[in-house]
């Protein structure tokens, strides 16, 4: 928690300091936690779209309730599966790289070298990663949701489900409210921030030797998964209350 506060304090205090150094770093992190993961997410969204639609078609067909297909797909994917799966996939790629990179940086004494040059390691190393991760998880979740819905409909179409594209889109639009979009934005950004802060903390917070890098990375991964699941539970409660 203290590390999170320090990170946001640094972001607030030094957000405009040295933009020619930190902005390119943010772009690199955004590419690592976003753009470069697009092919993986395309594949995953196709797989998930087919899986969810496959099950939904199977069960809704028995009940004669295929007209709820779009609604179920939207609620399940937008509220739950989309954000959580995206966060876990980003964690497995960019989060792991983050933790290993920073732990190695720390073990090689590069953090001390930054301090000796008057460069704030939190500002230079952590802030771009946390911002990149938050924006990356948000962007990828949107991409992922669109992918799942698109591939889901394609799968339904190929299975001769009597559902027109306009009808499907209407069902999705009716199933979602403005609150869903607001909570989706907050949730995905919080997932990204949690992953960014935890992986950076485990990589940087303690003096490390090279042989301790793997342990720190595993710890970062486990704690990030726990944090994402806990956050997801909080949002489930919020949905239930609202």
């Amino acid at each position: 928690m203290a590390f999170t506060l320090i990170t946001f304090g640094t972001l607030a205090k030094k957000g405009r300091v040295a933009p020619e150094v930190t902005f390119p770093s943010m772009r690199v992190e955004l590419a690592g936690a976003g753009i470069r993961l697009l092919p993986t997410f395309l594949f995953m969204s196709a797989a998930l779209g087919m899986a969810v639609i496959g099950q939904a078609v199977s069960w809704l067909g028995r009940l004669g309730a295929n007209s709820y297909l779009g609604t179920i797909l939207a609620v399940v994917v937008v509220r739950e599966l989309g954000p959580l799966l995206t966060a876990l996939l980003v964690l497995s790629h960019a989060g792991a790289r983050n933790a290993i990179d920073l732990a190695t940086t720390r073990a090689l004494g590069e953090v001390e070298a930054l301090e000796a040059l008057g460069i704030d390691p939190i500002h230079y190393l952590v802030v771009p990663r946390v911002v990149g991760m938050a924006v990356g998880v948000f962007g990828l979740t949107i991409y992922f949701i669109i992918g799942v819905l698109g591939f889901g409909y394609l799968f339904a179409f190929l299975n001769h489900i009597a559902l027109r594209p306009g009808e499907f889109a209407t069902q999705i639009a009716n199933a979602l409210t403005g609150l869903d979009f607001a909570l989706l934005t907050i949730k995905t950004c919080l997932f990204g921030i949690a992953i960014g802060v935890i992986t950076c903390y485990q990589g940087l917070a303690q003096p490390l030797h090279l042989e301790e890098v793997s342990r720190a990375s595993v710890k970062a991964m486990v704690q990030s998964v726990m944090a994402c699941v806990l956050l997801d539970m909080v949002f489930i409660l919020i949905y239930l209350i609202l």
């Binding site: 001390e112 070298a113 301090e115 040059l117 008057g118």
Partner: protein, 262 residues
């Protein structure tokens, strides 16, 4: 009435009854009761066996570590101060091995502090970087990653990166360790030039403090010596004034035989 202005010169480093803690464990003291004053323009060499606290002393002098006890001042300012404080840019710290940033190229390593601190515009940054690359002989490898150039050149990269901000005080941690004779000769000459006033630094003499476990290269140099022994800091004065045989540790360090921790 006219009062004569006080012309007192502020020491570059001033330590008063300082206890130096280990960088990796701040509860562990490695040196006690250090009283030391380094005046601008002086050239000091601090000798000590491995693990005697040389690196920790330099880290404290650079303002990276707080003293466990006592007072440490850098150019008159209490340390450790603010990370982005003005005193920091007056100090260059060259780590043992250089500690380059491995994700950046050699050129980017040198440019980073200039860009971060907005020291100069785009053209001036590029020019100053080229100049220091040429001075340190790193130009042919400017686009390469530090890991590909060998340890001796990584040490020079550490020096180039520390010098690019044009510091007034240069702290060097074991700069000559593991160097071959050609590199060693280059370093000795370059440090002498810096101490005398190098054109890159506007011909202003730089205050130099070197920590080393082998004092032999400075045996005939006009430098001030100090040794670290049994958690104590002992300033011995100018090398030429000292009888090296007066102390077995100094004798060992001057002979370049030090290997065991004290």
């Amino acid at each position: 009435m006219s009062a004569a202005p006080n012309q007192q010169i502020t020491p570059a480093i001033e330590m008063d009854a300082v206890t130096v803690s280990a960088r990796e464990d701040s509860r562990l003291s490695v040196l006690e009761d250090v009283d030391w004053k380094v005046m601008p323009g002086e050239y000091w060499v601090v000798g000590g066996m491995h693990n005697s606290g040389k690196s920790d002393l330099l880290a404290l002098a650079a303002g990276l570590n707080p003293p466990q006890k006592g007072i440490c001042r850098l150019f008159g300012a209490l340390m450790p101060g603010d990370l982005g404080g003005p005193e920091r840019s007056r100090v260059g710290l060259v780590f043992d091995g250089g500690k380059p940033f491995h994700r950046l190229t050699i050129e980017e390593n040198i440019e980073l502090p200039l860009r971060y601190h907005h020291v100069a515009g785009e053209d001036a940054t590029a020019e100053r970087t080229r100049e220091i690359l040429d001075l340190t002989g790193l130009s042919p490898w400017a686009e390469r990653q530090p890991g590909t150039i060998g340890r001796s050149w990584e040490k020079r990269l550490g020096l180039a990166r520390a010098l690019v901000l044009r510091p007034e005080l240069l702290l060097l941690d074991d700069p000559l360790g593991g160097l071959d004779s050609r590199h060693l000769s280059w370093w000795m000459n370059f440090l002498d030039e810096l101490s005398a006033g190098h054109p890159f630094l506007g011909k202003h003499p730089v205050t130099i403090v070197v920590a080393a476990h082998n004092l032999q290269p400075w045996r005939h140099q006009k430098v001030r010596l100090a040794v670290l022994k049994q958690k104590r800091f002992e300033a011995l004065g100018p090398c030429s004034d000292m009888s090296p045989l007066s102390d077995s540790l100094v004798r060992e360090l001057l002979a370049g035989e030090s290997t065991v921790a004290v």
